[in-house]
Structures are given as C-alpha cells and as structure tokens.
Amino acid sequence: MNLKQVSSAQIAALVQGDKVHKDLYLSEELFAIEQRELFGSTWSFLGHASQIAESGDFFTVDIAGQSLIVLRDDKGEIRALHNRCAHKGAQLLTTESGRLSGRFLRCPYHAWSYRLDGALAAYPLRSGYENTGLLACESGRGLSPVAALHVYRDFIFARLNAGGPTFHEYFGDVLPTIDLMVDRSPVGRLEIAGGVLRNVVHCNWKLYLENVNDSVHPVSTHESAVRAAQAVARDRGAEPMPLAFEQILPFGERYEFFEGMGGKVFPNGHSISGTRFSVHSGYGNLGEYVKDLQAAYGEERAKQVLEQAPQNTVLYPSLAIKGSPQTIRVIRPIAVDKTVIEAWNFRTVGGPDLLLDRALTYSRLVFSPMSVVAHDDLHLFESQQKGLRSGPNPWVSLHRDHVPGESDQQTVETSGTSELLMRNQYRAWAKFMTLNMKDA
C-alpha cells in the first residue's frame, strides 16, 4: 500500500533557504508522509511520569495516528506499547487513563493476555495453535513496544520508527530548558495538575507551531484583547492588578520589546524565544520560596532558574514549553487541516501554590477554547489555511533577518523577532522527512 512515490529531492525543494512552499500546509499526500517519516524518526512527547505515578497506572495517547499505551509496569518501569491486540487489532484500552486491575493487559475481544512488557502470556484454546506459525510471526510476539523510549526528568518521549537519532543526539543543548523548569522545584520534581484543556483547530499543525515562535504577531493580532484589557485596567485606577491582567497586559508590548528579547535555535528544529526576557519576566511575589531554592541549588543556580522565563521553548515537533508559568502545549496533528492542541500545567513540588495558580490562570486565559487571546490567533491560522490556496504565489515568506548562506542546523543566537526560528523548524522538517527515504 505505498503512496505515490515522492522523492527526497522533491521534498527538499519545498523548503528553500528563506521561504517554504504552501504544499507543506495543504497537501494531504505530504501529511501522510509526515505521519510516517517525520513523526516516525523524530522524538515525540507522550506525557509526564506523574500521570502514571503507581505501578499499573496507564494513559493512552495517539501519536501520528497510532494509538499508544503508556504504563508503569510491576517493577516501576515506564513502558510504551502500541495499543493494538496482536490477534485482531482491537485496542487493549479505550479510556484516556486509569489503573489496571492486575499485572496483565487482557483483550476484551478474545481474551488474549499480555504481560506489562507486552509479551503474549495466555490465549484461549491454546492447543489449536500447536503446529501453526503463530509463535514464529509478529502476532506471537505480543504487543509491540515503540522503537525507542526515553524519560528525561519525568518527561516521556518516544520515537516510533527504528531509524533515527538517539534521544540526546536529537534534543542536545535544548534539554537544559527542561532542567530550568524542573529545578523551579526545590526537590527537583514537577507534577501535572489541574486537568487539561483541549482545542481543535482547523489548520495545519505547522501553522500553529510556527506561531509559537512568532513574536511579531502580538502587536496586530492581539490588539483587540490588549486594548480591552487596558481599558478595564484604567477603570480600576490605583487598585492592585489581578493575576489575570498581569498576564494579559504584556501582550501589548511593542515590536522593539519582542526584538530585544532574543532568540536561539538548535539543531533539529528546536528553539527558544525570549532568551533575555519575555512577557513572562517579572512575575514577582515569591517570598520564602526563593530561599528554599537557594538552599537547594545555591544562590547562582536559584537566580538562573528564577530569571529564565522564555516566551516559548519548542522541542520540535510536538512540545512547546513555558518554563514560567509552568505550562506546556502539546501539538497533535490529526489531518492536514486539523490539529489538536492540549495545555497541561505543573505543580512545583515543594514550591508555593502561587506557581500552579499562575500556570492554571495563564492556560485558561490564553490556551482555552474560550480564550479571547487565542480566538484571534486561531481565527488567523484557519484563515491562512484557506488563504494559502489562493493565487499563483506558492511561497510562504520567512525572509526576516535571513542571511544568504545562513548556517544550517547549528546553535545560533538571534533576535526575538528573527524568522530564523521558523526557518530552523522547516530545515528540520525537510531533514526528517527524507532521513529514511530510499529514492528509487
């Protein structure tokens, strides 16, 4: 069932040095290749270890159209298995999360049972399989694990295909971003808390992810939300500003602010926007907690942890992190023009409740289906999805701050508004789309 042959040269031609072809967002055929190649050979975020704190806890997640079970086995190990009975393909688990009742996964259809490492343990009418090829074929091997799994400071990542970089080769120098967020806890531990917001957006996933790195849009896109917030804030007069307004008003910063906040790209599509400061800098009132952090990590590290508040860190292609306010967005492509965005939040173990409050308030204000900030974003992504179909110009411009001969896949510091952050995503896209492609 091969798709029509697309060569790696054809794919490479879609990503030019300073622009990308609209087919990246519009082509169903490219979407199907992405699911198999890009999401097969890169590392996707599955979830957080705190979601499966005890042995037998599980959650299910779809990555690139493939249903996975992520569980903690009887020895406390985290495992990720394809949620597909080896017999006839029924899903072993159909709920989002829960706890297994025993030490086996049992298919409800014909009672094939598996150990928590996926090995086939029992199946009815066993004698009927004697002298058949069952045990010699894939079905006899039980549930398939993902090709590679890595848990980094409780963040669970997987690579679906056998071919591809190791975890550390892939993420490299962007990983300290996770450390900075985890070290906001004096005991170095975060827990998912408060539930999850789920949005469905009728646009290609790359339009969303590209926007995570776009600090030029707030001035025009969020004008209506910012002006309304400013008007209400003015009416409050000298009263102290509530958390919600402290979080919305900075969207009204000017171009110079966003340009000056700094950006950084890393090999394989990852990036940080807001390396120097961001709209999240200057959330204060932390009190005693600062001392707890200093006691845990020393003054210098505590200062570094508290001062680092990038606008966004992208762990390409599935995760966007806001270290402060401790919120992550997970990007899940569903179809070429349909994307699910989830917003999850962290409690800082040993830290003040205020940190979780900030995360929950920010997510609600900015990442909820009812967010007045997000409405203008999502409207524009959906409008791009329609607009790109029109006219003879096939290109999406990414020229801002482009330098001819710009180095590819290096760690580079740049301005907060440089489109290098997006060019870097698309260079990684072309690289991983074609990594395992054997041209005829």
Partner: protein, 157 residues
C-alpha cells in the same frame, strides 16, 4: 417565595445575550459576580483546577469591551448565539431567604457565517437578593462535553 422573579431573571439573562445586549447583561450580575465554565461537573468552586472560562466582572467587561470594539479579528464575521432553556429547577441549596440556586438544562448554538458550534449542558445559577433586587452571584456552565476537544467558543454559553 420569589421563585417566579428568579426564573424570569434566568430567562432574561439568556434573552439579553441572544440579543447582544451585553451592557444590560452585565448589570444582571452582583458586584462580586462570577461567570464560570469548569472542566468537570465535580469541580469545586475553589479547586486549583483548570477552567474553560472563569470570569470576574473585570474579565467579563474585557470580553464585552473587545466584542464592542469592532477590532476583534475573530469576529469578522461576527458570531451570533441562541440559548434554548428548559424550565429552571429550584435547587435544594436555596436555604437562605436571600439566596436561590437554580439548575437549568440548556442547548446553546453559536454561529459564525457557515460554522455552528452546538453545546449542551446545564446551568447552575446562584442568585442573591441585594437591596430587594435579585442578581446573579454565580453562573456556572456545566458543559456536557467540557473534556472534549473543543473548537473556539467566542460568545457566552
């Protein structure tokens, strides 16, 4: 009993929204009023949990201000809404003579050009009597599918 007066207030609230008369709608709330769309029906009023919306009067004014400004990109074209309410039921929590709690099943449709979002659920209105006037202290919107993947909801279920 002031039940008919309270029921009238709940219907009027939906009517003012459907008509886009937001300034009058805001006047129905008490000064400490709250408009809340929690993520689950079991969520407590002070739980440290996410909500789809959780607005005090300042945040409600922000929404109304933005909609009225004509600058909201996502309101080109503008959305319109229709609430269909079942008869409000007086809740057992209505112990105090100046506090009444009602539960009202609803269907909500929000339409923008060719797109329609339809939501179902029930409201919990907590009404308080201030200077002889019933006002909304809390409008809790329990969506049937709050935990689902939701598209933009731009107005007020």
């Amino acid at each position: 009993m002031s039940v008919p007066e309270c029921v009238e207030l709940i219907y009027r609230e939906a009517f003012l929204l459907d008509e886009g008369r937001y300034e009058e709608w805001l006047q129905l709330f008490s000064p400490g009023g709250r408009y809340w769309v929690p993520l689950s029906r079991s969520q407590g009023e002070r739980d440290a949990r996410l909500s789809i919306a959780d607005e005090d009067m300042d945040l409600l004014r922000l929404r109304v201000e933005r909609l009225a400004s004509g600058r909201a990109h996502s309101q080109q074209p503008a959305s319109v809404m229709q609430h269909v309410l079942q008869q409000p039921m007086l809740g057992e929590e209505s112990t105090d003579t100046d506090t009444r709690v009602f539960r009202t099943a609803f269907t909500y449709s929000e339409c923008r050009q060719d797109e329609v979002v339809v939501l179902h659920g029930h409201y919990v209105h907590r009404l308080v009597r201030l200077d002889g006037q019933w006002r909304i202290e809390l409008k809790r919107v329990n969506l049937l599918n709050a935990a689902s993947r939701l598209p933009m909801i731009q107005l007020f279920p």
